[in-house]
Symmetry: C2
């Protein structure tokens, strides 16, 4: 019993060290983001103040407060996903296509949040919808991964048959993992990024790649949303194709992680457990 409690104490201590390391990681990130982004933010703020002042100079009869109250309304509407800009002819936010896109991004936990429910019933429904939808999505993705593991395992068997007499099993599993990771990188990041960069008038390749990466990791910052530029043709089809891309991309990412974790030597998540077991 003493050894077990001693083991528990060491485990707790190890976690505290990790928390310290993790805190440092967060703080370092904050410092880098702050250093990279603060100047751009200042520039936007200065440009905006200048634009307001210029407008007031051009129109001396406009009272400062009067303009401010209009801008307040514009900012509030913008925060609710309604743009005051005449150039934005992207159609309503809660059209069927957009609503389907919203539903899909909630249940996959991507949650771009470029449009969000504003009514109390809408928020309530959103919670219930996520509560049921997230597990349903996990079951779908697991089933698809299970299905894709059949060809993936067949590939590993062929590799073993072809290379088994030349290399160690661990090496062959690394080759197998490399094939799957490369397939993911090419067909679910690089190629889609190229397609989005081609279809979206204002996205360069880095923007598109960043969109794909931030979406498939389910972070979903929502600063880039496909199919929201004015005058894009086939918008509903484009939205549905994007939903299809996101779900297949998430599936293939899960497959890649499953193949990765199946290699015992690479299974990071067991690091703490194994240390704990050593202590027991």
């Amino acid at each position: 019993a003493t050894t077990r409690i001693f083991g528990q104490a060491r485990f707790t201590c190890l976690i505290l060290f990790y928390v310290l390391f993790y805190g440092t990681y967060l703080v370092s990130g904050a410092l880098v983001f702050s250093a990279l982004e603060a100047p751009i933010e200042n520039q936007i703020r200065l440009d905006l103040i200048r634009a307001k002042q210029d407008f007031l100079v051009r129109h001396p009869d406009v009272l400062d407060d009067d303009l401010e109250s209009l801008l307040d309304e514009v900012v509030r509407a913008s925060n609710h996903g309604v743009s005051a800009s005449r150039n934005v002819t992207g159609g309503p936010n809660w059209s069927f296509g957009q609503s389907l896109f919203f539903s899909s991004t909630v249940v996959t936990t991507i949650g771009y949040g470029h449009v969000t429910p504003l009514s109390q019933p809408g928020k309530l429904f959103c919670m219930i919808y996520a509560l049921l939808g997230i597990p349903l999505t996990l079951v779908l993705l697991s089933a698809l991964v299970e299905r894709l593991l059949l060809p993936a395992t067949a590939l590993l068997r062929s590799l073993n048959a072809a290379l088994g007499h030349l290399y160690r099993p661990f090496t062959i599993r690394l080759v197998h993992l490399t094939i799957i990771v490369t397939t993911f990188l090419v067909f679910f990041l690089v190629v889609p990024a190229g397609i989005f960069a081609y279809l979206e008038p204002e996205w360069d390749f880095l923007d598109s790649f960043y969109y794909c990466f931030i979406s498939l990791t389910t972070v979903g910052l929502g600063d880039y949303i496909p199919g929201d530029s004015p005058g894009q043709p086939y918008r509903p089809f484009y939205k549905i194709a994007t939903i299809f891309y996101l779900i297949t991309g998430l599936t293939f990412l899960m497959l890649t992680l499953t193949v990765f974790y199946d290699i015992p030597q690479l299974n990071l998540s067991s690091v703490f457990s194994s240390i704990k077991l050593d202590e027991d």
Copy 2:
């Protein structure tokens, strides 16, 4: 071999049926969201158009195009997280506290996106930061869950000792699960929702609950962000307390799910696998 291929075909068929069901779930969600939200969106749009028209009527010398170009600038800045409203005195977006909040929400995949990197180096760094940070977070959460499983398992042992002669093991595990789920609901949803509703001037209890729910499911729509109202005191402390809440909340949610999945009768994710095994 024939049975195996037959089994595979049935498995594939079953997945196709599930995909159909899942598609129906998405479409139904879209219809409900659209019905609930479209009227409110229309109202906001109409109010905005009226506010613009009123302004132009009050100031006949202001040209429509001149106002539009100012509003374009305001909307663009607003999309980049910079508000034109004089009332927003929340300090810069990329202050240290805000940047720390951003870093935390990226690595936990919550990704509110109320502020996002605008520079190319910022986007690149964000991807690398997420690529390392998300696994680091998973390791942290797993280790914390592992640690919390020690008292959770001790509780199950006590329940078994106290009630083992009265009830079946499955019933006792349900009691155990209920205790943990209730603890989660009370201390990580209801109590925090009450605190946020108290601290945030514009949030009612439903808004706060919705914020907590959408955050802990890692959807992170970003329509509600704590500590962004003007004039809130102790802002950096508030932001750090929120980060602490989010990480402990995610940990306790993972613990709850682990306890849930540990009960074989409730393990949904094995539904498809078990059907597949039956076929083999």
